[in-house]
């Protein structure tokens, strides 16, 4: 994934948690490490769809645990769109 998109993604994550985007690491887990609950995680998924103009598979999206997994899934989706 290009750096610009990755930066945009981490910026989005940062709006939902207490950490600045530079401190968000790939191995961090949304719930345990970044404090997401089900409501804001679902709102976050909606923001991903709007920001990157992609269509998430809801069943798959709710199983994403870490930042790395989410980035990988987003890369997969943006490639499909291209």
């Amino acid at each position: 994934m290009d750096e610009q998109k990755k930066k945009e993604f981490l910026g989005l994550v940062s709006q939902y948690c207490e950490l600045p985007e530079n401190d968000i690491k790939p191995e961090m887990r949304f719930r345990e490490d970044l404090g997401f609950n089900s409501l804001n995680f679902m709102a976050f998924l909606g923001d991903i769809e709007d920001t990157f103009d992609v269509e998430l598979d809801e069943q798959k999206a709710v199983t994403l645990t870490t930042i790395a997994q989410a980035l990988e899934y987003l890369e997969e989706l943006t490639k499909e769109e291209e």
């Binding site: 709102a43 769809e49 709007d50 103009d53 809801e58």
Partner: protein, 463 residues
Amino acid sequence: MEKELYPLNVGQMLQYLPIKETGTQRCCNISVFCGLQSPIDFGLLKHAVQDEFERADCLRLRFTAPDENGDVMQYVVDHDDRDVPFLDLSGMTMPEADAYLQSKTYEEFNAPDIPMAEFTMVKMPEGYNGLYIHIDHRLTDSTALIVTVNDIMEIYCHYRFGSEYPAPLASFIEVLKKDLEKANNPKRQSKDEKFWRDMLTENGEPIYSDIQGPGVLRASRKAHGDRTLCAADVEKKDRSVGIADFHLEPEATQNMMDFCMNHNISMTNLILLAMRTYLSKQNGGQQDIMLRNFVSRRSTREEWTCGGSRTLSYPCRTIITPDTEFLDAAYKVQDVQNRVYLHSNYDPMKVKAMMKELYPTPDDTEYISMSLTYQPMPVRMKNEHLKGINVRSVWYPNGAATKKIYLTVTHSANDGGMIFDFHYQKASLTYHDMELLYYYMMKIIYKGMAEPDMTIGEIITNI
């Protein structure tokens, strides 16, 4: 300079709708006392409240006069330099003082272009000192009000003890602009619309359920001369409200929190499961149950501190067969709620209109008898200078129950327990009905937590 006008966001519209329908602003009032059992320097508290009016633009919102359709616009004034009055109720008993503040709750903000929030410093009986806040619901919801109270106390601690001044709050207007942009995103709108249409059609018409049993729906069927009617009449004439509060002990609360944590279930969904299981029990094992869940849409850091009303409510419909194990049933509720959350940008009034279009029931009938708000954030003084001091927070009802049963679950500020606060329509329900409802909800939860593989049917039979 000309003031900049903005429309209401969806959450504010939901609060405004009853004003439009009833012509009285009272049904949109929130009133709360929050205080500490400790001496307070009221001069500094006043200073802190005045700072808060500068920091939080939502407190400076005004509304225009209604237009020809009854709609209003909002704007923010630059400053609000009003005094913060002081009230000494310490000579009264606590019930007398509460009754006095309760009576102030009915005062209306009934004119355009006026301040919609009043803060009063109060000296209460039993050594409690604090603030009585009387405010229009469009300026705040319960989460935002807790943020406001906590922020004022942080500012107070800065002036009183020299602790750090709190970080700035987000601007309500800036967040509102983003909300309006999202609401006007056509792609998002069509996705959300499709979701709700599918959700409302995939299992056909919902059916009403009531803690008073199937007789309620039967009575509506008889009144409308329609034996297939699935919705029941709502109470329109007598909306006087009864209140029943029950305190769940800290240990029992902790058990529930541990269960939620260990099984990755949210507290909201566990409580929704208990509510729907009791409705199922009372309605001959009915499997198709619809509740209403209120959600405060505060996900990003800005949304947490911008104030305003962001509380939306959506139907939560689940069809659970009696052979479903308790844990699986909880996951079923959670799955529905997760999907609802993903589409909770959508205007709940449009969901209501869609339901009416799909299932044209008579006016003033409903599928839902019970609503839930779970409020995970307690009024808690996190500043170390205030730790260990008893906190008293009292929410005074505005006197109008627009829902048959509205349960608000909060965490106690003092002991780590939970408070189950039932507001019910006295026209058809009694305090004893709420006692039974609470008793069975707890039995369902405790049976299910002890034996998560027990089926819903077995739990209903066993409790």
